[in-house]
Amino acid sequence: MWSYLGRRLIQVPLVLLVVSLMTFAITRATPGDPVTIMLGMQTSPEAAKAMREEFNLDRSLPEQYGLWIAKVLTGDLGRSMRLNDRVTTLIAERLPISLQLASAGMLFALLVSIPLGVIAALRRNSWIDYLCTGYTVLGFAVPNFGLALILIYVFSIRLDWLPITGIGSSEAEAGGFWKHYSPFIIPAIALGSLQTAMLTRLLRSSMIDVLSQDYMRTARAKGLLPANIVIIHALKNAMIPFVTMAAVQFGYMIGVQVTIEYIFAVPGMGSAVLNAVINRDFPVIQGFTLVIAVFFLVMNILADMMYALLDPRIRY
């Protein structure tokens, strides 16, 4: 177990190196000059030159990368070209908000997929099973921004039940429980819809598989109560792939919630990256991508660890 963890951790820097190289290459290969964008067309050549020098943009590409990575190793991700803030400060501000939103999305996905997946498997080919199938198909087919717009229209504009924006705003943070958390509801549902569909489908099929196993017959032959049979004997087995998938998906969500953050004006990682891309704010793009990659990797390793923890047959 520990040696496996060690081997996995050794891979992390390698993956990050590749990620950083690719992000660097992509930022530099995309047309658009950050200095022109930041300072505008009319700026003096001196100011432009000074900025280029400050951010090493006057150097060759390998040099730029080398200088950047050397600083990264000391924990310094540089400064934003546009905001003049340290990238690490920006991350410290925005990562918690993104994590909260991703957690809310995952929470929604779990709250729906666990009961739905279990009941659909127990009542195979019943109306609730068909409902579950229909729901998962929709979850896969409707893009999250589409769902976001529908939810906004229905629950915010028509019914006026839920706020559209407010995540991370000082007003919401100062307010009570409802004021604080209600802005999360619609974005969380929109963000988690794909994961809900995925996890429901996975749990349904793994439950169906488990229910047909011989040990379930043994459990019934013992005269155990149905709740005990379903929760302890079936769910404990069916949860193994489910938990793993949920952890991987959680890592993935942080990276893909850009659109949702943008739509709901969430001051998180995603909207910051989007702005950085628009402005060619190289240090922010590179730093944020690296952090998202780290998070994704950590969740993946955690998923494997959980797999081993839940399944006594697995020993790495």
């Binding site: 043994t218 459990a219 032959a221 155990l224 404990k236 047959r313």
Partner: protein
């Protein structure tokens, strides 16, 4: 006293190709403290008979019907699922055929034993643990205390089989159904388990249905034996009677011997040729007829009735094999 009465038990499974009549009119009585053997080829309906008694046949696709299926005077088919749950694992217990897959892989052995004790005997804490250790020792698992925390995959097939037996015995059932319970075990352990079963019937009056392919084990353990073919009992009798005077063409085939006309048996081990009938098609004549070596012209005309051979021995066979015996 009769513990279990089975009359015209019929279990079928709905499939795409039609209804499979897996058990088709089984009748027998099981007395208290009696060990009844159930033998027959693969697919003859032994496990389904057992599962029908326990009411563990999944419905659908299965369907169980009987004129009577009475356990201790109560009609099992009339009990609710909740009432059945009180009996299963407690007064009636079953050891399943496949030990490798009958234990839950993510729960410890200890937990899988303790949960039955908790459920039916309200036994908890150290007392339950002591009982679990005692049970594991009874079935011959060494250093039982340490094994409680182990998972099934850390056990061999034989050990798992013994755990299954320990679980089945945990609440002192009045009826124990053992489906190939010793098949995965080596000879020494097998002998231990057989001794244990004999002791249980003697000391506690436990009734046992012992399903096995191994006629040797059946002969050494059982009081009576039912020979099953194509979902029905074709011959039944006390063990000595039946082995001494097999009176059904199929039983003869099972014993791997063919009687000669002069009545002196020869011991020639021959597998029965041919395949069992398709259980979807209705069977009108003797189901064994196409494979039978001792059939008589009457077999082509009428289905065989139970023929009483005295001493509780009967066979559903038209060929008169009674005077002949098989040398063993």
């Amino acid at each position: 006293m009769t513990l279990l009465r089975v009359r015209n038990l019929r279990t079928r499974f709905a499939t795409d190709r039609g209804d499979v009549r897996a058990v088709n009119g089984v009748s027998f009585d099981l007395a208290e403290g009696e060990i009844l053997g159930l033998v027959g080829e693969s697919g003859s309906g032994k496990s389904v008979t057992a599962m029908s008694i326990m009411r563990l046949v999944p419905e659908p696709p299965g369907h169980v019907a009987a004129d009577s299926l009475a356990f201790d005077g109560r009609e099992l088919l009339q009990l609710s699922e909740a009432q059945m749950r009180e009996e299963r694992g407690s007064s009636m217990a079953m050891v399943f055929q496949d030990p490798m897959r009958s234990l839950n892989p993510v729960l410890t052995i200890g937990r899988q034993i303790l949960e039955v004790l908790r459920r039916h005997q309200k036994l908890d804490g150290p007392a339950a643990k002591r009982r679990a250790i005692e049970l594991l020792e009874t079935v011959g698992i060494p250093s039982a205390e340490k094994r409680l925390g182990a998972y099934p995959h850390q056990f061999s097939g034989g050990m798992r089989q013994r755990v299954m037996i320990a679980i089945a015995l945990s609440c002192n059932p009045r009826l124990l159904i053992a489906d190939e319970a010793t098949t995965a075990l080596d000879v020494t352990i097998q002998a231990q388990i057989i001794d244990l079963v004999k002791r249980l019937t003697r000391e506690r009056g436990t009734s046992v249905i012992w399903i096995s392919h191994d006629l040797g084990v059946v002969a050494g353990l059982c009081d009576r034996v039912n020979v099953m073919y194509a979902g029905n009992v074709v011959e039944s009798g006390p063990i000595r009677e039946l082995f001494h005077r097999p009176s059904h063409g199929y039983t003869l085939g099972l014993m791997g011997s063919t009687p000669r006309v002069d009545g002196v048996g020869v011991r020639r081990l021959t597998p029965i040729e041919g395949v069992p009938p398709n259980l979807i098609e209705p069977i009108k004549l003797c189901p064994f007829l196409p494979r039978c070596r001792v059939s008589v012209p009457a077999c082509q005309a009428t289905p065989p009735e139970r023929r009483d051979l005295g001493g509780g021995h009967w066979a559903a066979c038209l060929a008169d094999l009674a005077p002949r015996s098989v040398a063993r």
